[in-house]
Every structure is written in C-alpha cells, then in structure tokens.
Amino acid sequence: MGDPGPERGVTGPAATPWWMRPVRAGLVAAGGALMLYAVLGAVTDRSDRIGGHLIFLVAVLVGHDWLLMPLAIAIGALLARTVPSRARAETTAAAYVSGVLLVVALPLVLGLGRTPDEPSALPLNYGRGLLISVAVVWFAAGATFLYRRWRRPARSPTGEPSRR
C-alpha cells in the first residue's frame, strides 16, 4: 500500500512517539498481505464466481454512498427543520433506530427467500414485526423525552430560546 506518511497537521513532530512509525508500517503491511490473500483466494476459488462477486462489491458501495446515505441525511435535514429543537434529539435517535430496523426487516418482510416446502423458515409476519418494533422505539423515544422534560423542565443552559 506504500507508506501513507503521517496525517497532515494532526500531531506536531514532537508528539509522535518512537513506536508510531514501525507500528503503522507493520499494520499497513499486514493489512495489505491479508487483502492480497483475500484476492488470491477469491480468484482461485472455483465455487466463488468472481465476476458476480465484484459486481456486488461495487453495487453495495454505490448503493450506500449514492442512495442510502443521501436519503438518510436528507431525512435528518428534514427533521432538523421541522421538529422543535427541544424534541429533536429523541426524534433523530428514533428515526435512526427505525431506519436500522427497516434495513434489517426488509428482506424478511419481502419474504422472497420463502419456499412452500419449508414452512418453518421465515415463519412470522414480519410486516407486523416491523410495525411493532418501530412502535416500541417511538414509544421509548417519547418516554425519554417526557422523562427529560420532567427532570429538567424547560431550562436552557446557554439561554437559547426553544422554538415555539
């Protein structure tokens, strides 16, 4: 991988301990060797099907960087604009946990892995499960909000007036 060199401007020269350079070089070299082993292994493993493997590696990267994350950030920006500031922490947190649950549940809700001869595989109603789990999350967020208001009633340490 080459020597990446010290991060620019992170630590002054005086702050770099003696072990930093050899440890970094060792980690970079070891990681490079592991990656090389992975590539050689995948290429020589006849059962792998390297073409599809590569396509999928690119697809998950593009799907995440250009679809999922922009969507998540857009939702976050929307929440920041619409939710009153005193409730924003819990709302943001609940939206994030709900998003995670949606990702986990999606392949189960679609249920395309089901086969008629194996009724014990994916036996639950996952749409219902998703609704229940998301409802629990928002209930917990609401309870946290109320608890926080009760513990620290409408006081703002920096004097910033809350909206509304």
């Binding site: 592991l34 990656m35 493997h53 998950v60 194996e118 639950l124």
Partner: protein, 441 residues
C-alpha cells in the same frame, strides 16, 4: 524504513508529487464547502465508533473462521464435542454481532461521509492509494453485512455468486482493509482518544466513554497532542438543539439493542416471543423444531419411505445392511442436544437412537482411532456427505437418531435415521442417512 537515499526515497517523492489542481468550476453539489453541516461529526466520534466496529468485525471474523474450519477442516484444525453448545454459542454470536454491526456501520459511515467529497478529490498518488483502500474497506464491510443479512433471510437470488465462498473471502478482505486503515489512521485515533474536554467552555459531565479503552500510553513529552486537523466542536451543541456526541453513541447502542432483541430469540429461546423479526422460531416446525432443508427439496421422499431402505455400515469387520428394526434393536439412548444452523438459529430437542460408537464397534472399529464418513440418500447437494472425527465419534452423545421428542423422526428431520452430535453445524448433522463408512486412522 531508513532515510537512505535511493529507490525508497524516489518512490516516496513520486507518491507525494502533487497532481494538477482540479478546476474549481467542477466543485459542485456535495463537493462544495459547507454541504455537511452537522456539528456532531468529529474525529473522536469516528474513532469511538471505529473501535467498536473493529471489535465487532474481529468477533465476526473469528467466529466465522471457527465455522469455516469445522466445515472445511485443515490438517491442523481440532474442534471438540464439548461443551455441547459451543458451536451454538459461537455461531449465535457470529450472526448476532453481524446484525449489530448494521447500526454501528451506518453511524460510522455517516460520521465520515463528508470525506467522500474531499476537494480536490485526489491530491497525489499516495492520496489516491489511500482513497482506493478506503473504498475497498467500505465495500468489503458493506458486502459482509448485506450478504450476511440476505443469507439469514434465505434470499439468495440477488447474490450472483456462491454465498459461503464469497462471504469467506470478503471477510479476509475486510479484515485486511481494517488493519490497514488502523495503520493509516493511528495518529488520528490516538489524538482523538487522548483528548478529554474540548476547546469550548462547557465541559462534559462525568461518565464519558472511557479513554482507557484506546491505547494511549502517556509517555513523557507526547502526553497531549497539540494540533488538530479540523475545527471540531469537541463538545457537541446544546442538548436542547439535538443529539450530543454521547447522545448519538447512546442511540447507536439503542439501535444495537433493538436489532438484537428483535432477532436473537432465534437462538435464545426465552426471547423467542420478543424477537418479532427473528428469521426462525425455535419451536416452530415439524415436531416443534425448525427445518433447514425439507425432504422434498432434497429429493429423498421416495427413497426415505422405501420399505427396502437399509443403512449400509462398512468397517474393518466388513459391511452390513441394517433395517430400521435392526437399528432399533441396538441399545437405545436419549440425549438432549441442540440443532444449530449456520444461519444463526438453534433449538434444543430430545433425540433417541443408537450411539454412533456402538455402531463403529459393531463394524469392527475403535471409536478412538477411526473416523466415520456419513452419506445421505440425497443424490446431489453440497452437504450430502459429512465426516465425524474422533472427538465427536467417541462422544456418547453422538447418535444415529431414530426418534425426536418421543416420536418417530419426521421425514423433514431425516427419517429413517440421521446423525446428531454435540457442538456441530446443522449442515454436518447428516439427514436421511444411506451409508456409514468407518475409516481407520
């Protein structure tokens, strides 16, 4: 890494040679300065999430290697038959940790997302290599999580490769990329974790994430890294306006807890009713036990129900062909053993049948110095064969089971007879046994 002049130095200079500057008129969209405004992003947050993620990936990697080498043994591998639930625990941890990685990975990638739009995109060849290695890291990590999730949901159609092989090799790629990444970022990680309170006035309350977790050997002059590479609000904004850094870490913890509670009941039975998103319920299936491969999909229904069925047992004393009645005439033993699937579910059941070591002795073998090859009635499929090595062969809990939970084995559970052994993946608990071959070591 000496500073001797020569090829090393020339290479270093080449890697650091600046590329022509990118024209500013191309700096549009997310590449513009000020696109990403959340004050929550900080090197410290990224480092903390990164350490948690690295530990989670390491856990998945090690438990995954265990599962891999049980199924593809090398000359040096050894896997004990006790404790009975050992594989159940390692594989349960593998899948649960893999699912828990989803929220952590999401938060981590969010925290560094603006760096995807660094300007200029590439400064010099070294920068290009670093960015490429980051792409490999992110891609491999996402690949592991997505393919693991699809596998747990038994949804193989979107994966244009053989899941097991690709998941295995990408694990090495991901771990290699993580190790490299830690090497590249070590000074940043160290600085981010060494800082306690920030530049702003309001100190954080006690109970902060422990710095002791990171390796911060405070040695002499370098106790306090001086400069920071970006203006980071070390104390997140007023909690009334949104999440603090600790609030975000709490939310990530809550997401991990939510995902775990929603799924882990597939192997932790007391939670099975709570786990509304579990791909399996340990008590749903024929005879109250889940099935991974049915007799129909294995194509063995006729062979298994054939009255002429015999189990071929071949050993040093010759071969015999045993009917189900012959098997039932051996001393019968009842054991309680879990069936554990590589997909992470497991369920305990009561199995009744013949001790495998009794059959080995009957075939003229010594259970301590033999291994047994089991073959299924299946005519195709990766898992129609399995091998039972001495640790499992000699274990009195290892049975050729004829009955499950007090009734004749259901055909989907392997009627007429199946292998059941402690601490072994379900794919190696061969069903619809056709033949056992005793090989002397």
């Amino acid at each position: 890494m000496t500073a001797a002049p020569g090829p090393t130095e020339r290479l270093a200079a080449l890697l650091r040679r600046s590329l022509p500057p990118a024209p500013d008129r191309l700096r549009r969209g997310p590449w513009r300065a000020g696109t990403f405004t959340s004050p929550l992003r900080s090197t410290r947050l990224t480092a903390q999430l990164g350490i948690a993620l690295a530990l989670a990936f390491l856990t998945c990697f090690l438990t995954g290697l265990i599962s891999h080498f049980i199924q593809h043994p090398a000359w040096w591998t050894y896997w004990p038959s006790r404790p009975v639930s050992l594989y159940r625990v390692t594989q349960g941890i593998h899948v649960a940790t893999g699912l828990a990685i989803i929220p952590m990975l999401g938060a981590k990638l969010w925290s560094v997302y603006p760096r995807l739009f660094t300007w200029p995109p590439v400064r010099d060849p070294a920068h290009a290599i670093e960015r490429a290695s980051i792409a490999v890291l992110v891609s491999a990590a996402l690949f592991q999580v997505v393919t693991g999730l699809l596998d747990v949901a038994l949804w193989y159609a979107p994966m244009p490769f053989f899941f097991t092989a690709a998941h295995y090799w990408t694990a090495w790629l991901a771990v290699g990329a993580i190790v490299t990444h830690i090497g590249v970022k070590l000074p940043l990680i160290r600085a981010a974790l060494a800082r306690r309170t920030g530049l702003t006035s309001r100190p954080e309350a006690g109970g902060d994430a422990p710095d002791a977790g990171g390796d911060t050997p405070e040695a002499g002059a370098d106790a306090r890294p001086a400069v920071v590479d970006e203006p980071i609000p070390l104390v997140a904004p007023n909690p009334a306006t949104g999440l603090t850094r600790r609030g975000l870490l709490t939310a990530a913890g809550a997401a991990v807890a939510a995902v775990t509670l929603a799924t882990v009941g597939q192997t932790v039975r007391p939670l099975s009713r709570v786990s509304v998103l579990a791909p399996r319920r340990p008590d749903i299936g024929p005879q109250g036990l889940p099935v991974n491969k049915s007799a129909v999909s294995a194509g063995v229904v006729h062979l298994a129900r054939d009255p002429a069925y015999r189990l071929d047992v071949a050993g040093p004393a010759g071969s015999v062909r045993l009917t189900v009645a012959d098997l039932a005439a051996f001393p019968q033993h009842t054991v309680s053993l879990p069936i554990t699937c590589v997909e992470g579910w497991s369920a305990a059941a009561r199995w009744t049948g013949v001790r495998l070591r009794d059959l080995v002795a009957y075939a003229g073998g010594d259970a301590d110095r033999t291994r047994v090859h089991a073959r299924s009635l299946q005519t195709s499929g990766r898992y129609r064969l399995s091998t039972i090595e001495p640790p499992h062969l000699g274990d009195p809990l290892t049975l050729i089971a004829l009955r499950l939970n007090g009734a004749t084995l259901h055909i989907d559970h392997g009627y007429p007879c199946r292998l059941i052994a402690p601490s072994r993946p379900g794919v190696l608990q061969t069903k619809w046994l056709a033949a056992l071959t005793v090989e002397e070591l």
